[in-house]
Amino acid sequence: MNFFRLFFLYRVHVIYIFTTLLSILLYFSNDSDNVKSVQADFSDIISVILGPKKWYKDILNIKEKNEYLMESVGQLRLLNTELIHLKHENNELREMLSFKNKTPLSLKGGTVVNSQLSGFLHTLTLNSGLNDGIVPNLPVMDINGLLGKTNTVGDRATSVQLITDKNFRVSIRVGEKWNLGLFIPSHGKFGYIEGVPKSQKVIQGDTVVTSGISNIYPGDIPVASVISVEVDSERPFLKIIVEISAEVHNSNFVFIVQ
């Protein structure tokens, strides 16, 4: 059925719609107050008719905004976590910088990129190596105390033998008269001191420091603090249990003593 046939069939309705639209157009083209008043009425009617459409659109907009806000909240949470982490890192670095300025030791900073704290060997991997002037057997510490020593050194990375490693030993001084002894790790953050005679006075809370007689470790680096002292009548030495001072399990940045 072509257009003209359709028009012929419905010509009365088409003509009426056309004349009505033309009349309304003429009427609203006037600029009198009466017309404005009717226009206002028409606007009210149209707003009532289009109300549900607007409501539905608003709901859709709110849904879209909600989804966007949910995404934003997720992103902001991630950012917040990152910022908290950065703040913590910043504080840690500030403390380390302050420590580096105070200590007479020549320190070089290093970032921990990997840690192996389970099993037989306890090691850390640093992102500094031969290219940065690192060589094997240099003491490694954090702001709290001795952490270990450099073991194998590559061009860009270094493996550190930790103080908690079963094979780690370090000569120390402890007690009222700074008697010599040997620190041996036992488990976790704990270790014990060998070789301090029973006659010496060592009390709980005493600090254990490196003796300085070793070729590797300079003296007076904090190693541990005494948590218990026992006297065994069958042994010539005190049984001293200590807690390692360094943050072995939570190190991000360390110092290499050069």
Partner: protein, 161 residues
Amino acid sequence: MSKKELKLAGLIWIIILFIQTFMPAFRINQMVIQPDLILVLVAFVALRYGGDFAIIFAFFNGLIQDFSTQESLLGILALSKSTTAYAFHFVQHYKTIWTRKIKLSSIFIIFIFHNIIYFYFYLSGNFSLFLSGLFVIMIQSIISFLIFLIIERILFKSKLI
């Protein structure tokens, strides 16, 4: 339609337009009432010649009436007249189905409808004013209907509808 009929129709149309333009309005209780002869003419045209021609005829007559009565609200009478012609089209369409009484009632309702549209727009959509003008609407519609009945009886011997 023959040439003679066409000339006669044209003459009647011009006479009615002339009378409508210069016909004096009369007052009942401070209300101005003027019989709408063009509305009656539109009714006859729609019932005699069908909707399509009647709508166009009504639209142009309404427009002429708009220009001659009030230019500030141009389009009111064109709208109300063409709507009336469209409604008359249905009366004509069901000419053989509806009874005379139903057709007459419909014509009267269409006259009222015409006046309602006109007064609604004329009174700028003010509903309280519109309610007070309902009496005028009824009087106008009755007058137009009576004129329609008289002419239909005289000219068409009550056989148009």
